[in-house]
Symmetry: C2
Subunit: 64 residues, 2 copies
């Protein structure tokens, strides 16, 4: 599940730690999602998108 989470988060200037805390998951979960070897739940995807000011499509739709 490749996605644009990492590039978006870095551009925003926040750490995995900060993003995970704002969303309410662990840093490891964010790390695994960014790595792309993960199949997160829809709710989590929505939480990430809102925190990064993006939509689902921008982060997760037909990436690469």
């Amino acid at each position: 599940m490749k996605n644009n989470v990492k590039i978006t988060r870095v551009k925003m200037g926040i750490t995995q730690q900060q993003l995970s805390q704002r969303i309410g998951v662990t840093r490891q979960t964010i790390g695994l999602i960014e790595k792309g070897e993960y199949n997160p739940s829809l709710q989590l995807c929505v939480s990430i998108a809102k925190e990064l000011n993006k939509t689902l499509d921008e982060l997760f739709w037909e990436v690469e």
Copy 2:
């Protein structure tokens, strides 16, 4: 997790059974997702969207 799956599927004229078979999940899983009391995985959301010729945002982003 309210969404537009049911209305889109019905408009398309296919049954839960047909959609589930094309995607490779059970009819019950589709039923629960349509009901909105479910938190499906990203992969499954993508599969549904492609089968219904929609994007993630159209089916799952800020519905209602």
